[in-house]
Symmetry: C2
Subunit: 374 residues, 2 copies
């Protein structure tokens, strides 16, 4: 099936929309949250467990897969979906963000970005065309253009020059991206300058992408600034195209940004926190290693219907964590992913029912620690 | 249900038996293989996955659970079965073997063994009565008496003195083990001296245990010596009681020792090897990290019906291993456990069909490396 996005419902008091996205590997509803499967695996869990958590689409990282096992190998093995046994939609990033995060050599030119592998120091050139080529070989359903992530803070002059480079790269990516059912999203940059964000959005919209991402957020700016920039950027984007906020965020971020018109999210938070023993619950975050849970026979969250909460006590999960049993991160991941998807489902229902503005953060989202309440 | 053992069939040309064992938490057929769940978790997998691998009974380690989370906590939480969400039979060891394996303080007296925790150096006294008490609190279906594992090699004088201590301890354990449906097995010791093994067996049989284990094997002796001692010991044990060979072994060991009259086995080999990337196949052992598997689209074992072989290529499993993805050890564990249970099922079928003596090692058991054949 070719890529298609339909808006099914709108919230009358916010910018929130309920949408339906069709990709070559299936459909899903938006707003949507995409767990991160960096190296072709959402850490600790199987695709069947993702489905049981109601996950519909996952993100994989182009940078990591390009270096290992390589995009050509994955293509030869029948593509990323078959390789990782996930036959549903996959979005791949462009690899840019990871390259900029590297500590070692990294040289930016008009042509692209030269970098050294974190694995073995080998040198590679990532260009807009190369990023498209890699993602086409991976066979993801949604590909992202190569962008430059503006450091934070950055001067206006730097942010302007970077934003214009990102536009030129987006044009090259669009030209290179042909003969495929894979969708290609542009990425709005511009640092923390609202006019540059608007300029970026206008230039990308002219290039007519299948969707638009908002990149370079959650890098240290305030929530208020982030919200303001998202709102102003979203106003410049076409209503009929999906909007994807990259790398964000907490459950509360999801709710707030849906109200600003965002349709898609990804974040390592539910999975990484799970491995660190930090569990989301309707009463707040629960740090499973705390001694107070040693004899606690209750599930992590009494209102949760996930596999973990149905079968295991906090005491057992704490035991697995302190005993460094591999099953622990896995049971925690199942719970956190289920929790995130539950938040998304509550948001969707609230949009349909016109209740989004009054959707209580309490009861679905706890950013404080459970321990603080005691 | 109270503990009960019935022999359903015997092989006419070997000592092998097909049996049926009933415990408070369900029944299973023997010969049986018990995966090891040291800290109340068979590493990486859930109980549902164990069932899918046809696992019927698991072993848990008393030493580890006594120290963490403690046997009293597990009792307070409703027992080990509920704690770890495994409602099928559980066998617990006595803790003795781990204590003797400790590098630190360890002092053996007539009363018991004084040792220091590997976790925090705290001092503990393990006596035959204490080992029974701990296992009763854990609520396992089959408990083991505290024994002394004779070091290898050991002098005849040491082995004799140790064997006699083990008998005295067994008598105390039997006296302490009352008012429970839990079964209690004695453990035949005697080092590598056949007459001491026979003496040990005779003394334990007089105490009338629910079953008899053969301890202290696979410590460096030859297979030939082990087989000879097992054969001579088994001849001293009552036909109508189950026989359990502790800590053994490879698939070939299982087949050989079933022919010597052994009914029950446990070993970390399938699970530990899995985590190290060593997979059992009908063609031999497969070291998944080898570069030759990088582009190999075949499953680990084309004749295997496990979840891993049904959905993943060797190339993907190799990628998970070299990328240190947690899903790797898990998919490998599922395969190896499934493989071991398949070996057990083939052995059972061969006993029923009178084909055990001619059961080909080839086709079910490969101890060599697949790589060596190429």
């Amino acid at each position: 099936m070719p890529f298609r996005f339909e808006i099914l419902a709108r919230d009358s008091r916010t910018q929130a929309r309920l949408g339906h996205l069709t990709t070559p590997h299936g459909e899903f509803t938006t707003p949507v949250f995409m767990p991160v499967g960096t190296q072709a695996s959402v850490k600790t869990v199987t695709p069947e467990e993702l489905l049981a958590c109601h996950v519909e689409v996952v993100l994989a990282n182009t940078y990591h897969l390009y270096l290992r096992p390589t995009h050509t190998l994955i293509r030869d093995l029948g593509g990323l979906h078959r390789f990782m046994h996930w036959e549903r939609p996959i979005l791949t990033d462009s690899g840019g963000f990871q390259v900029y995060s590297l500590a070692g050599l990294r040289k930016l030119t008009e042509e692209g970005v030269l970098f050294q592998s974190h694995l073995n120091g080998s040198r590679h050139m990532l260009t807009p065309e190369k990023a498209v080529e890699i993602q086409q070989m991976l066979g993801s359903d949604i590909a992202m253009v190569l962008d430059e992530c503006v450091p934070y803070p950055a001067t206006y002059a730097y942010a302007l020059s970077s934003q214009e480079l990102t536009t030129r790269w987006a044009r090259r990516a669009k030209a290179a991206h042909r003969g495929t059912e894979q969708a290609l999203f542009g990425i709005v940059q511009g640092g923390m300058y609202a006019d540059l964000r608007e300029k970026s959005a206008h230039e990308l919209v002219e290039l007519d992408f299948d969707g638009y991402a908002l990149g370079g957020f959650s890098v240290g700016e305030t929530k208020r600034l982030m919200d303001d920039l998202i709102e102003r950027t979203a106003a410049c984007l076409p209503e009929e195209k999906p909007r994807y906020l990259m790398g964000v965020g907490t459950p509360a971020d999801l709710l707030r940004c849906v109200k600003l018109g965002v349709d898609m999210f990804d974040c390592v938070m539910p999975t990484r926190n799970a491995r660190n023993g930090c569990l989301f619950t309707r009463q707040g975050k629960l740090i499973i290693k705390n001694a107070r849970y040693a004899q606690d026979t209750r599930p992590v969250d009494a209102q949760c219907s996930c596999y973990t909460c149905q079968h295991y006590s906090r005491a057992y999960l704490r035991h697995l964590f302190v005993s460094e049993e591999i099953l622990g991160p896995r049971l925690n991941t199942i719970h956190n992913l289920h929790y995130y998807m539950d938040v998304i489902h509550k948001i969707r229902a609230a949009i349909v029912e016109g209740q989004l503005e009054t959707l209580q953060v309490e009861g679905i989202i706890g950013e404080h620690d459970v321990e603080e309440q005691a």
